[in-house]
């Protein structure tokens, strides 16, 4: 009996322990998720929002796309349950998911989808036939599915005043353009109701403010500057990061007007010493890069040397009469950009180049360019468009052509890549089951808040 009692006692303790552990990992409904972000937008219309990872995250809360791209870069169904190529490879036909409703209660229809996609892509030939939406293009639409997963192609129903309504997991409760968005859980979400009741997003905050908000408990989730990742980890926050998907580069507004200017740009490019910036300013985060696409995406990024060649830079500089000078602009609200710009100026000065800093300068700017997708071709094509370079003529999307295209873009002298940085987020310990996609997209649809009450 005494032995039996001990056995029962042991079993009871184990059960209680197991139940207690289960309670910590079992999702809970309710609560408001407070998020801070550096992103700031005056419009919630996907077609009008400038592309950035922050914008993509915001759009993903309110809207859905026809397809999404998973962690491996493969398209998965979203509002489109299935799709098939149009005969002759002239486009793709999509079959919409049934019983999907917008936040205003209206059902998802092919007409709305067609209208939404036409607004975002005027060049596309989008038609509806029954439950099928066909997207055709005069030329081949490269990586159409990847393209459709971009936030600008999110499906939005616009009312008479132009206000958009989505089918996403959250619907808008309070919208203060550029400052704050409060969104409540969509009870009828086709992919299941989110666990949190509400998301409160505080926009336009610096990394420092976000960390302060996280430390003070005013935020559950915050963006972390790459150089601050060590600090976040040391403070025992849960830190998730993406693959390096943000390109930091020097971007020239125009092509070089003369051979001397081209030589000056080359001298500037060869004078930049990326490694020390990576070690010190970025605190080891990201990767020094002389390529447009990160190595993890293209596989050949290492071919472009990141080492400075001061001798060659000096030779180029000596060919130029006078002192070549540049005025480098940067985002005045981005401390890292300021430091990187200063360091670039310092490196250039060693080569005999003059780089003056002026935050508002436009001819040459230090920019952060989020890669459009995890797909290298999509990212490169979008980047090519952003730089205003001639369209890339690629018959087949082979690796060789990708390399040649990127090399051609770099040879234009319009951009000098510096780093590829990951996107990082830190969350307090009460936020569970949140994830970050390799492309930097934040997924909080399945996240839940652990109640502080026992």
């Amino acid at each position: 009996m005494k032995r039996t009692g001990l056995q029962w006692l042991a079993i009871s303790v184990l059960l209680i322990s197991a139940l207690s552990a289960n309670a910590d990992t079992r999702p809970q409904y309710g609560g408001t998720l407070h998020i801070t972000t550096s992103m700031s937008t005056s419009s919630l219309d996907p077609a009008e929002m400038p592309d950035s990872v922050g914008a993509r995250n915001l759009v993903a809360l309110i809207f859905d796309t026809l397809v999404i791209v998973d962690a491996t870069g493969r398209p998965q169904s979203a509002l489109a349950e299935s799709w098939q190529s149009v005969p002759g490879d002239r486009g793709v036909e999509f079959h919409l998911r049934r019983n999907v409703k917008f936040h205003d209660g209206n059902p998802l229809t092919t007409e709305i989808v067609v209208s939404s996609l036409r607004k975002a892509n005027p060049a596309w030939n989008v038609t509806a036939a029954g439950d099928v939406v066909s997207i055709e293009s005069a030329g081949a639409i490269p990586e159409l599915l990847q393209e459709l997963s971009l936030s600008r192609n999110a499906i939005a129903k616009r009312d008479a005043t132009g206000n958009p309504s989505g089918t996403g997991p959250f619907h808008i409760v309070d919208w203060q353009p550029g400052k704050r968005l409060v969104a409540a859980a969509n009870e009828d979400y086709w992919n299941g109701r989110p666990f949190v009741d509400e998301i409160d997003i505080d926009m336009g905050r610096t990394f420092r403010d976000q960390m302060n908000a996280l430390e003070s408990g005013r935020a559950d989730l915050a963006e972390v500057a790459p150089e601050q990742m060590h600090r976040a980890v040391s403070q025992r926050y849960e830190l998730l990061r993406s693959s390096p998907v943000e390109l930091i580069a020097l971007k020239f507004a125009k092509e070089a007007a003369s051979a001397q200017e081209k030589a000056s740009r080359d001298a500037l490019r060869l004078s930049i010493e990326r490694q020390s910036m990576h070690n010190v300013l970025l605190q080891g985060a990201g990767q020094p890069s002389a390529s447009l696409l990160p190595t993890w995406m293209s596989g050949y990024g290492f071919v472009f040397s990141t080492e400075p060649d001061r001798l060659r830079a000096q030779q180029l500089r000596d060919q130029i009469p006078g002192v070549p000078s540049f005025t480098l602009g940067y985002d005045n609200n981005d401390p890292l950009a300021r430091l990187l710009a200063e360091r670039v100026a310092l490196n250039a000065k060693e080569t005999g180049l003059s780089v003056q800093l002026n935050a508002s300068a436009t001819e040459l700017r230090l920019v952060r360019i989020p890669l459009a997708s995890c797909d290298p071709w999509s990212s490169l094509l979008v980047l090519n468009n952003q730089l205003g370079l001639p369209p890339i003529e690629a018959k087949a999307h082979s690796l060789e052509q990708l390399f040649a295209s990127e090399q051609s873009m770099l040879a234009s002298g319009r951009i000098i890549p510096l780093f590829h940085l990951p996107l990082a987020y830190a969350a307090g310990t009460n936020l569970r089951d949140w994830t970050v996609m390799p492309g930097g997209k934040l997924n909080v649809t399945g996240a839940w808040l652990k109640s502080s009450q026992p």
Binding site: H230, V280, L340, E342, L346, L357
Partner: protein, 618 residues
Amino acid sequence: MSFRRKLLLVFSVSVALSVAAVAWLVQEVTRKAFEETENQRTSQLVGQFQREFNRQGEEVTRRVENIAASETVNRMGAALNGTSADSAEYFDLARSLAESHQLDFLELLDSRGMIVSSAQWAAKFGYPEPAFQILSPSAQQPAFLKLEQLQDSTALGLFTVRTSAGREHPVYVVGGRRLDKTFLSTLNVAPEMRVLLYQNRGETFSADLLVNASATSGDARAAEKLAPLVDAVRRSNQEMSTPVRWSSDRADEEIFHAIPLRGLGENRPLLGILLIGQSRRNYVELSRRIKDAALLAGAGGIVLALFLSGWAAARVTRPIEQLAGAAQSVAAGSWDTRVQVNGHDEVSQLANSFNQMTTELLAQKERLVQAERVAAWRELARRLAHELKNPLFPLQLTVENLIRARTQSPEQFEEVFRESSQTLLSELANLKGIIGRFSEFSKMPQPQLQRVNVNQVLRGVVQLFQAQLNVPGKPAIECRSETDESLGTIAADPELLHRAISNLVLNAMDAMPQGGKLTLLSRREPQKVVIEVADTGTGLTPEECARIFTPYYTSKQHGSGLGLAIVQSVVSDHGGTITVRSQPGKGTAFVIELPERPELLAEIAESRAQHAGEPVRN
């Protein structure tokens, strides 16, 4: 120029010069006082700057020492241990330390002088500190000046360098504070002064490098005027001063004293220039006020001088003018003129002497008149004796001859008596004639003035003597009359004038026994009529000329000596003068000048009109 005007001029010039001298003196004293004050203030401000420099330096040193001794820096030193490995995590350390220790500049260097962390230029990590070789981390090393290169500018700062303790490879802590507006504003600067700091960078002056604690808009453009001073100090590396005028207004001027500020190193490079400016407005305005006051005083003084000189001149010159007037009266013959004597000054003494002189002149004149009278009587007695002696002697001989004839030859007495009687009668007639001439001279009548045409008188005289001029058997005398027919009438007695001219003609005829030329001339001169009677006779000696008008003096053998005396008397009675010019052997000319006396002519006309019962015509 009259004495009064001279006195006025002397007074005015004296007053003007005195005021100018006083103004200049006051100006000089004021200028020196201001310069001394400026120098004192500059010295005080320089001393204050030095004290503030030292105080801030000590403060910087204390803070840098605290940083160097801090656990953070020592831990960093231990982690680096002479290498640059893992220095990335200290990249931002300088900024946070600078913030916490309130330093404007802070760099953490490894033992090789490479920048591990920089507060002022964060991107400079990994680069060598340019001044590392001259930095001395000695505990005795005071704060020093250093021109710190920043990303887009330079800044002058007060720096100290210290090292972390007890390590083989210490961390160099280089910290400092800006010498900027804030630093300058800690100086207690007088209202009319200001302090500027020029950062010596670049080859040429740039207003952007000028730190002005009280900068206002537009100063940058005006600051270019400091360029010559700054450039001069840069060349000489020595203190100097110069005035800087900011506008055309002279009061808008400052005296700038420039003091070179040097840094560390072998050549003590010129890093900055302290510029102490002092406004000259107060001095210039005071100077203007002094000038205005001087001008006012000068003008007032000159006006006062006019009054004073007028008063003084009146006081001083009136007796002198009286004296001058009295002297003129004396010269005119009023020898009894006297002036009033007031006071006992030199002019009064002069007046007194003048009175004494006129008194003495009167006395001497009286004595002279008496002496002349006596002499005249003596001459008259001599002439009478001489004139009377000539007929008396024949009378005496005739009477003695009668007596002798009566006693010695009565038979011839009758004949002798008859002859003697004739002789006696003749001599008595002679005596009578002599007495008659004397009686005639004594009976010279007063002229009865009437309108007389001088030319008519001359023509009458010529007509009278025409027959005597050409007497047969005698040498002829040519008479020539040169009359000015434009002569008017004068107030004169025609009888006396005729008589005087006749006497002169007689004299001339007597002077030409061998014949000659007689010239009668009349001409008009201002306010007078001139009559000249000239001959080509024997002429007179100067002695004779001097005495020729003396009564009873004659150069002729049988002259009475009264002819020319009568002429002079007539001319004198007419208010005129007679002079003689003569050369022996060549002839003599008597010149009579008679005043026109129009007032008398008017009186004569009026009198005649009254007598004639006719209205007066002008």
